[in-house]
């Protein structure tokens, strides 16, 4: 089995523990694949979320669009992106909102055009703790 991935910085690995923590959050967001669910969510977000077994912090993070917090609470980006797309965000906008530097979407797009986030200095948590 895979071990040793815990020291990768800024990365929420979808392992069993993460899966269990975020199961209902992710399953809830996946329903946005359906047009009628998107409509119901648009009509009343809180009422829509009440139909799922979310924790209070998960519900809050969804309503407030706290993208990193959703990951911390077990969210997976393929599922949270459905909410971002619902809001009209692109994957770059979402990447910007989660980046450690807190960039704008345009800053993120510029970073990508300039070669993306370098692997150098971004392999180990220890490298981030030094800066």
């Amino acid at each position: 089995m895979e071990t040793g991935y815990q020291d990768i910085p800024g990365t929420y690995v979808q392992d069993g523990e993460h899966c269990r923590k975020g199961y209902h959050l992710n399953q809830c967001l996946m329903t946005l694949n359906k047009a009628h669910c998107r409509e119901a969510f648009r009509a009343d977000e809180a009422a829509y979320l009440a139909g799922f077994k979310l924790t209070e912090p998960q519900r809050d993070a969804i309503l407030k669009r706290q993208w990193l917090e959703m990951l911390r609470l077990g969210g997976n980006v393929y599922f949270t992106f459905k909410l971002a797309a619902f809001d009209g965000m692109t994957m770059q906008d979402l990447g910007a909102a989660m980046s450690r530097e807190g960039m704008s979407g345009d800053e993120f797009r510029k970073m990508m055009l300039d070669g993306g986030r370098s692997i150098e200095g971004n392999r180990y948590v220890s490298e981030w703790e030094q800066n």
Partner: protein, 282 residues
């Protein structure tokens, strides 16, 4: 007689599909990319197989976290483009090849010991349709049949790289024993380096990607021991999709003739690289 005629490795970045669907090919951002894949399209025009075994992963489109198949094989007559949260892509329905697909299922499960999930209905997402758009642009109907092979890349534990490579080899044996006539292609899609999530979002590692393609083409056995931990660290959390290229590579003999290679970055948040491999034993 059935044979595997070619393989292709390519990412399946959704924004490529959106650029094609919305005719953005000439825009400054996209032109270098579409210029670079022009030879891919030219090559495919002259090298149409009957059926593509298209290895991809579903991205919370059809498979939720309720039931997560490691390897899911599409046995249906056709596969609808999935609604991934913003309506399905406006692309043709994907026609299957149930006769070959059931043969693969029978050989792979009964003889080769691969524990496939058999799918008689399967909506296919950008992971499957974007590579078709890359190769065939915007046809009224796809010019090939497709057997979807969806691999779990979202939830750990994913199938090991070694297992993916072994599945490719088993696919080669299964195709060889098909009693009908077929020219079969195997495409491995996904990757290359990209991280969509977390504080490290936007990670690229083009040197790693370049070396991966080089080894994949010319020294694939050297990649067999690759771990997800290494892929996660070096290519980002979504770069792990590169494991699927190894299914494609395993399906081809060690001897291949590379027809084209092209790398470009960025495509949205991703490093792009494509290689087309002709079966060197034909």
């Amino acid at each position: 007689m059935a044979k595997i005629v070619h393989g292709m490795g390519s990412p399946h970045v959704p924004s490529i599909g959106a650029a094609i669907d919305h005719h953005k090919e000439a825009e400054e951002y996209w032109k270098p990319f579409f210029d670079g894949i022009e030879p891919v399209r030219d090559w495919h025009k002259n090298n149409l197989p009957d059926t593509i075994i298209l290895v991809y992963n579903d991205h919370a489109s059809t498979f939720s976290l309720q039931t997560i198949p490691t390897f899911a094989l599409g046995l249906a007559d056709e596969f609808e483009p999935a609604d991934e949260g913003y309506g399905p892509r406006p692309v043709p329905v994907v026609k299957g090849d149930p006769e070959l697909a059931w043969h693969l299922a029978n050989v792979l499960v009964s003889d080769e010991g691969f524990d496939l999930t058999l799918c008689n209905e399967l909506d296919v997402d950008h992971g499957l349709t974007v590579p078709l758009s890359i190769a065939y642009n915007r046809p009224d109907a796809w010019p090939v049949k497709v057997i979807p092979l969806a691999v779990n890349m979202v939830q750990a534990p994913q199938p090991s790289v070694k297992r993916c490579y072994a599945l490719g080899k088993a696919i080669a044996r299964a195709v060889a024993s098909f009693p009908g006539e077929r020219n079969v292609a195997v495409w491995g899609t996904g990757g290359m380096s990209h991280q969509l999530q977390g504080e490290r979002a936007g990670l690229l590692n083009v040197e790693y990607d370049a070396q991966f393609i080089e080894d994949l083409v010319n020294n694939p056995d050297s990649l067999e021991g690759l771990t997800y931990t290494e892929l996660l660290r070096e290519t980002g959390s979504e770069g792990v999709e590169l494991a699927m290229w190894m299914i494609m590579r395993g399906a081809l003999p060690l001897e291949v003739q590379e027809q084209y290679r092209f790398m470009h970055r960025p495509v949205s948040n991703t490093s792009y690289g494509v290689t087309i491999l002709k079966n060197g034993e034909l």
